[in-house]
Symmetry: C2
Subunit: 205 residues, 2 copies
């Protein structure tokens, strides 16, 4: 990651805070802002006609929200825990990007990374078993945090709706990983990976 070309944006951004479960925007809202997570976590989700909920993505510190929106946000965004963000006017960002190719280039790079992440997630959802999905999810979080100890700010329902599993299956898979000695659970929201190689062995690609 380059010593970020987007740092210039911060001067036009406003810091804001959301409480747990507070909503950032709804699906269909006019998409006139981008957001960057500073602290906490955001989930984007969609409620289906049958009442079930799909979690499209989690956004952790450093992540940009809203780059996929055309006119309107396609999904709702909510705080998983108390979260602080920077809000950028999309109009101003677009103006800066038009004036500075380095910024435009960086935004395209971030979109490409988003496409890559989406591809990986489609592979997970289409071809992995429950335990493989959980293993892959934990490894991704660990890589992001760059440590073996992981914080899971979201609850089991969020994880299930993200991985295409029920909360019971999520719970059972985590229990199995504990039994197999691959992870140690400290409490509901904290665990550490003790056998990364075994966990990696569960993932397919």
């Amino acid at each position: 990651m380059p010593a970020d070309a987007l740092a210039a944006l911060d001067r036009i951004g406003a810091v804001m805070t959301l409480r747990r479960d507070e909503r950032l925007f709804l699906a269909g809202d006019l998409a006139d802002c981008y957001f960057k997570v500073l602290k906490g976590a955001i989930r984007t989700c969609l409620v289906l006609t049958d009442g079930r909920r799909h979690v499209a993505d989690f956004f952790l510190p450093g992540d940009l929200i809203g780059l996929d929106a055309a006119e309107a946000y396609p999904v709702a965004a909510e705080a998983v825990v108390e979260t602080t963000l920077i809000r950028y006017s999309r109009r101003k960002v677009d103006a800066l990007a038009a004036a500075d190719p380095a910024i435009a280039q960086r935004l395209v790079e971030i979109m490409r990374a988003g496409l890559a992440a989406a591809r990986d997630h489609m592979l997970l959802l289409g071809h992995m078993t429950a335990i493989e999905r959980i293993a892959s999810f934990l490894l991704t979080l660990s890589d992001r945090a760059a440590q073996e100890r992981i914080s899971l700010p979201m609850n089991r329902t969020d994880i299930g709706d993200y991985l295409g599993l029920t909360i019971e299956t999520v719970s059972r898979a985590l229990s199995q990983l504990k039994i197999d000695g691959m992870i140690v659970q400290h409490n509901r929201h904290d665990l550490t990976i003790v056998d990364r190689a075994a966990l990696l062995g569960l993932t397919r690609p």
Copy 2:
């Protein structure tokens, strides 16, 4: 869709043809070209360590291939049937985009559309049953073709690997839709939607 800003690109492109199952590029190849499908169909896919294959996407006439690539193509691309494409030098495209904001803007729009399609597909893979996936897939193809008669250039294996199902399940779901009078099958690769409303009723969002 705008009367396409990308038309300017065609002057720097070269037309090429691929036979059925011929390879356009491999995962890991240096990504120095973009491609546009003119006729036929391309699939991008990934072979997993356990030998299973994930089909990431299908590209039909009008679609651009390679926008998600950073340095290297992340997936392989192969012709589903005999296919003609235009190949663009990525270096030249990038130069044109740098010189003409309309082109750059259009490329960003296409990437956004890709992110939207990826989101829809993740919803399908994460939260839909077999018959719902097939119904959704057929409706998407029908919308693209802008008619009720659909051509399925790909075989059942391709469809299964794309929708996260086995070929048997794909076949059974199609049979069920036939029995329920929602589709009529002309042959292996051609069918028409006769009850679009019912098919739509099967999809969740």
